[in-house]
Each structure stands twice: as C-alpha cells, then as structure tokens.
C-alpha cells in the first residue's frame, strides 16, 4: 500500500506536539451527541487549528511527536480523522487504545522519528517496505514494518470487514 | 414608518418555543438566535426570509414564555413587522420594547395569504395588500406606546427620560 499527501503538524499550547490527546482530535462537545461522521470530521483537531479541516486535501498525513491519541477509548477519534480524508498518521509513538482503534478502522499508523518532517512536506509512504520518502526535502525515513496482523486488518479494510470476510478472527 | 414585504403566514397560537426553541436559549447572540427563528414549524424560514418580509398569523401569536429571544430572533432575521389577529401579552410588550412593529388586524390570516405582497403604513394606520389590491385600516397605538415606539426601544426611552 502506497500513500501520498502533505504533512500537517500541530503545536500544543505547551509548545510541542507530544501527547496530543483524543480530546484534541475530537472534542467531547461533539463526539457524545453526533452520529454523523462527516459532520464529526469537520471538527477534527479544531482546538489546535480551527482551519485544519478546510485545509485538508484527500490523502494528507498528520505528523506528530510521541504518545499521539492518548486519553479516551472513543473510536470517534480515528473515525473523525478518516472521514476528514487523512490517509495515515506518522508519530514517534501512539497511545495503545488509539493504536488498536485506528487499525480496526483501517487507518494506518506509522512509528518513526518525525523530527525532520516539517509542515507542508510532501510525503510518500510505502507501508510494506517501511519507507517514507520526503519528496519536498528529498530524503528517506525507514520505519519498523507494520506487524502482519495489522497489515492483514488494513488489507481487509478494518476489523469489521475482516470479520465479514472470515466470519470471525483469522489472524494466524 | 412604512415597509413593504412578502408574507409568511401561520396559524393560531404560534408559541415562543416554535419561534425560538429552548434548546437555543443557552445563548443571547442575536445572529445565532435569528438562524433558528421559526425552525420547529418552518424549518427553512431563516434561509428563505428576505429583509422586509412580514409574518402574518392568527390569534394569540407569541404565547408561552417571556423570552425576549423570540421577538429578537424575528427582528434580526430581517422581518419588518408581524401582523396577527391578537398577540400574547408578554410577546406584545417585548416586541414594542425592542422596536419590532406588531399590528393587530382582525382575522389577519384569513384576509392575507401566504406570499402576498404587503405594504404597511404605520403612521397612517393602513395595511395595503398589493397582491390582492385591498386596504385595511388598523387601530393606532395608544399615545403612551406611540411614545415608546417613536423612541425606537424601551432602552432609548429610559435613556432619554433619565437625561431629562
């Protein structure tokens, strides 16, 4: 699977982009009452960048520091990101529940050193080979290959489709 | 004062919850209120209403709560005046107090149809139905209220009386 898009980065009030929590991804103001995922998507990351949704082009990529997605278990977080048109997230590390939720929903997450990626860089991501090409700055970043189980979920189009296809779990 | 506009017609007992539902009462932003004006009985009202348009209704228009949000949402949505058979009491004073002209006209919503073009001449007490080519006489406001209306709003009235 090859993904391509421009990088978006966010700065928290404390000056970095570590620990971007699920309340930042989609505020509780919306997620508890909204069943329309397209509507939900319009509020994605709005407390960090109120223009973010408007500026997304399909396939764009979110880039962040460590522990992205910490906080609640609500799947509305990756759902809002997916419906906003984001193709994958690249971060130094991810919070556990967010990690599962994303792959379950078919959103690839990539762990690597993100320091050299800047806002606006055009990125090309090869999930199988484990390589990010920074097309703007012309360098490559290697990342740990996605575990086979996750790749299988991605190829099946998320856990729901995996279940439909296999009539249950089939990961061995 | 004279205005011309097209008519949105409603029935009897249009209440304040229909004019502005309570779920929007957590704000007093006038523009926000105007966006939801008449929403529960006429979902697209705020989108289709044009500046100067006129609401016509039957009896007891504005019954229910004391929320000034009701006449405010009507006024800010662009409506120039409301013509009804009768008005509920608190709505009546709220409208006068904020400077939204309201006119009592017997059997208003039988005489006037949805979409009619209406001209209102407040000073001479005449409502002209330009579509149907008919004229109706309206009772002038009592002198006390006239004074209020002429000062634009209750607040202006208080301001000027405080200065005197």
């Amino acid at each position: 699977m090859i993904l391509e898009g421009n990088a978006h980065r966010f700065i928290k009030p404390d000056g970095n982009d570590n620990d971007i929590n699920t309340d930042y991804v989609i505020s509780g103001r919306y997620k508890f009452q909204c069943e329309d995922y397209n509507e939900l998507a319009t509020h994605v990351m709005e407390d960090l960048d109120s223009n973010f949704y408007k500026n997304i082009k399909k396939g764009d990529i979110i880039v962040a520091g460590k522990n992205f997605g910490c906080g609640s278990s609500r799947e509305q977080a990756p759902i809002a990101i997916i419906y906003a048109g984001i193709s994958c997230i690249i971060a130094k590390s991810f919070a556990r529940i967010f990690f599962r939720n994303s792959f379950n929903k078919g959103l690839p997450l990539i762990e690597c050193d993100t320091d050299k990626i800047e806002k606006g860089d055009k990125l090309n991501v090869d999930l199988e080979k484990g390589i990010i090409k920074n097309l703007t700055k012309n360098f490559d970043i290697k990342f740990n290959a996605i575990p086979p189980l996750m790749l299988k979920l991605l190829h099946d189009g998320g856990l729901v489709n995996h279940f439909k296809k296999n009539k249950g779990f089939n990961i061995d | 004062m004279k205005f011309t506009g097209n008519v949105y017609r409603y029935g009897d007992n249009v209440n304040t919850d229909e004019i502005i539902p309570a779920r929007y009462l957590n704000t007093s932003s006038e523009e926000e209120l105007a966006k939801h004006c008449m929403e529960d009985i006429d979902i697209d009202f705020s989108k289709k209403v044009k500046k100067g348009d006129i609401i016509v209704a039957g009896k007891n228009f504005g019954c229910g709560s004391s929320r000034e949000h009701a006449p405010i949402s009507i006024k800010v949505s662009g409506v120039s005046c409301v013509i009804a058979d009768t008005f509920a009491r608190i709505f009546f004073r709220n409208a006068i107090n904020i400077g939204l002209p309201i006119i009592e006209l017997e059997r208003a919503n039988e005489k006037i149809s949805d979409g009619d073009k209406i001209e209102v001449d407040l000073d001479n007490g005449i409502v002209k139905n330009l579509t149907k080519n008919v004229e109706y006489k309206i009772n002038p406001f009592p002198p006390f209220m006239q004074k209020l209306i002429n000062s634009g709003s209750l607040m202006n009235y208080i301001k000027s009386s405080k200065q005197n």
């Binding site: - | 919850d17 539902p21 009462l25 957590n26 009985i41 004391s66 000034e68 608190i90 006390f144 607040m155």
Partner: protein, 419 residues
C-alpha cells in the same frame, strides 16, 4: 366604585385612590427577577444605559435556574454574566449553584416576595406569586433592564375575570387538575391580557403550594396575572418566612369583573393535557393506551414538597416501569433536603427513579432529560408545546404529580386509582 385585588395593589403603589382597566400606568416595583435565560439580555441592555448603579440592590432577584448545573460552555457563560453582575452591584437575592432552585418556588420559600407586592419577572410564570396575594406578572428582558435602572414598569391595568371554584375535590384530584380544567374550558387565550382571580370555597381550602400551582398556569390561558384572596393560610405561610411587612388586599363586593365563571369541582376527574397545547385537556377516564418513555415530576408548577409527598405516596413500595425513565426534580435545595429527610428519596430511588438537583431542566428542553425523536413524556410541568422537551417530533402530556407517579408505574398514562 368597588375595585378588585389587582386594581387595589396597583393603585396602592401609585399612591392613588383608584385605577381603571385599560389605563396605562407607570408604577414602582417591589421585586424584579430574571433567570439565566432572560437576565443576560437584560444586563446587556442595562449596561448600555451607562448608569452607575441599579435602583435598589435589595429589590432585584437573579436566579440562574434553567441550565444549572451548566450543561455546556454557552450556558456556563450565560450564568457567569449573572454572577459577575451580582458581584459588581452587590445583588442581595442572587442564588448560585448549590443554593439555586426553580425561581418561582425559591422566592416565596425564602420570603423574598410577599402579599401586596408588585413583582415583575423576566419569566412568563412569574404570575405564580398571585397565590400569596401579590400582583405578579412576566415581562421580557428589556423591561427588566428598565426596572433595574428606574425601579418602575409600565403596565396596562387589566380587566379581571373572576373564577368561583366550588365543591370538594375527590381523592387523587388536585389543584393541577383544576387549572388544567379551566384552561381546557377557556382556551390558551381565554384570559388574554386579563387578571384571573381565583376564589370560592375550594380555593380557600387549598394550601399555598396548590394555590401556586393554579396561579403559575394563569399565563397558559393568556392571563396577565393570577391572584388568590389572601387569608389565614396565606398569613401563616408568610409569617414563617417573610423578609418584609406585607399588606393584604381584598376585592370589594361591588368590584367590576369582565366575566364571572363558576366551576363545580365535586365531580372533577384528574385532567390530562394532550399535545401540543395546555388547553387540549381530557378526563383521565377518556385516556387510553398512551404508553410513555419518560415521566418528569418537578418544575415551578409541581416541584414543591407537597407534590413530592403525593408522588411518594403513590410510588411507595412500587417499582417504576422499566421502559419509563422517571425523573424527580425537587424545585429548591430546601425541598431537596426535606424530601430526603422525610424518606421520600428512599421511596423514589427504591422505585427506580432518578433524582436531579433543582433545575428547570427538561421542562423547557434545556437539559436533564431531553426526549428523542418519537418519544413521549408525561410531566407535571406547565407547557406541552411542539418540541418543548426535546425533539420536535416528541410529545409532552401534562398532569398532576399523582397521575404522573401512577403512570410511571403502569408504563402508560394511568389513574392513581388503578395502582
């Protein structure tokens, strides 16, 4: 010439011998009140006047009761406007969360309003205080701003309709049924612009709580105010809590009324107001198969301790139907505490009901029990307009606390007789 109570209170405040219905007057106000929905607009208007001070910091009551505890940022910001204003102008009768109750239950309970007063409130149910022998009526926010500035309000002296209520109420028939019956009879504009004077042996036998229920709903018939002749029951109530001296006024025997309506309640049944108007009333014996999703017992109409006692009497040892969310909302912190101490809460909780802190909450579709599309509620509140308690396609029925409690058990609208 003879005068009604309402005319007497107004002329007393004008320091004149008489007033005539239809006359425009500007009159001094004893208490002006507003809540978290109406006060922000009033405060904004007041600030625009550029005055240094309010007319009297002891005569203004600010009660943020509609959205307490605040449900979102917007309602929190609205409440903050009241809080900041109350601090800036040292408003004596300001009640923040924890002390706040539904305004029309709270102010009489605290003795803030008394007989003979003119009470003007930016809330339509301000007419409640007529039960104490006061003239009280609802206005809008601009009016409140003007009163906060000048201490005066403009009014048109209303004509009065006299209601003579006679007879003994049957078991399980209450004040709520009387007022619903009256509104059903005269319609939601049956008393438009008018004063409604409630008299007769039935009324004089009612406790203050019941009288408040009746006056509270005068507005639902379009009335300007509701009023009950003050008597020994009024005196006892006021003496236990009054902040100021009170004056009793009574109508002269030759007072002029626009209409006199006599009602015999000997055979009155519990009343149900069907959607979407309070006047759309039916006898309980004519109501069949109205299944429910929610029951609300509370509000300025029926959220007092007497109401909760009646509900508890019906619910004691019973369980509410699993399909029916049953919300009990004591109208003030004092009522809350009393109900708890009397063991009513235990009855409610054991029955499976939910107890909310004092708030107007679901009555106006604010929070604490909003209806989904297609859902149906029976409430002891005062209004059942379209969308009143939530989704525009939901339905609200109105009744007494007794019928509400019985219906919560049954899962459909039911008479307490059937429980």
């Amino acid at each position: 010439m003879g005068m009604t109570i309402t005319e007497k209170i107004l002329s007393y405040h004008l320091k004149r011998d008489s007033v005539k219905p239809g006359e425009f007057i500007e009159v001094n106000v004893d208490i002006v009140l507003a809540n978290d929905v109406t006060a922000p607009i009033a405060i904004k208007s007041f600030k625009n006047l550029g005055l240094k001070d309010v007319f009297d910091n002891k005569k203004i009551a600010l009660v943020p009761d509609h959205f307490t505890p605040n449900k979102d940022i917007k309602s929190a910001e609205q409440a903050k406007i009241l809080r900041d204003f109350a601090r800036e102008y040292n408003i004596v009768h300001y009640y923040d969360q924890g002390e706040v109750g539904v305004e029309h239950a709270l102010l009489p309970e605290k003795g803030v309003v008394v007989a003979g007063d003119i009470v003007i409130g930016a809330d339509s149910h301000t007419c409640t205080y007529g039960a104490l022998g006061a003239f009280s009526t609802g206005v809008g926010s601009s009016d409140v701003a003007a009163i906060m500035a000048t201490g005066k309000v403009w009014l048109k002296v209303p004509e009065t309709i006299k209601f003579v209520i006679k007879g003994k109420l049957n078991k399980w028939v209450f004040a709520k049924d009387i007022i619903l019956y009256i509104i059903g009879k005269i319609g939601v504009d049956g008393a438009l612009y008018k004063s409604m004077e409630f008299t007769g042996d039935t009324i004089s036998s009612l406790d203050m709580s019941s009288r408040m229920t009746i006056c509270n709903m005068a507005i639902e018939a379009g009335g300007k105010n509701g009023i009950v002749p003050p008597d020994d029951i009024t005196k006892k109530y006021l003496d236990e809590r009054k902040e100021r001296d009170y004056i009793f006024f009574n109508s002269d025997s030759d007072a002029k009324y626009s209409n006199v309506i006599e009602i015999d309640v000997n055979n009155l049944e519990p009343q149900i107001a069907f959607p979407h108007l309070p006047s759309n009333t039916k006898n309980i014996s004519d109501v069949k198969n109205i299944s429910l999703n929610q029951v609300v017992i509370g509000s300025c109409t029926n959220g007092r301790i007497e109401d909760l006692r009646i509900a508890a009497k019906v619910l004691e040892g019973k369980k509410v139907n699993k399909k029916v969310r049953t919300l009990i909302i004591p109208a003030t912190p004092t009522i809350y505490k009393k109900a708890m101490e009397e063991g009513l809460f235990k009855i409610f909780l054991d029955a499976g009901a939910i107890i909310s802190p004092p708030t107007c909450g679901p009555c106006l579709g604010g929070h604490m029990g909003i209806l989904a599309k297609g859902e149906r509620a029976l409430a002891t509140t005062n209004r059942n307009f379209v969308g009143r308690m939530g989704h525009p396609e939901s339905e609200v029925y109105l009744s007494s606390p007794a019928v509400a409690a019985a219906s919560a058990i049954k899962g459909e609208i039911a008479s307490p007789e059937d429980i």
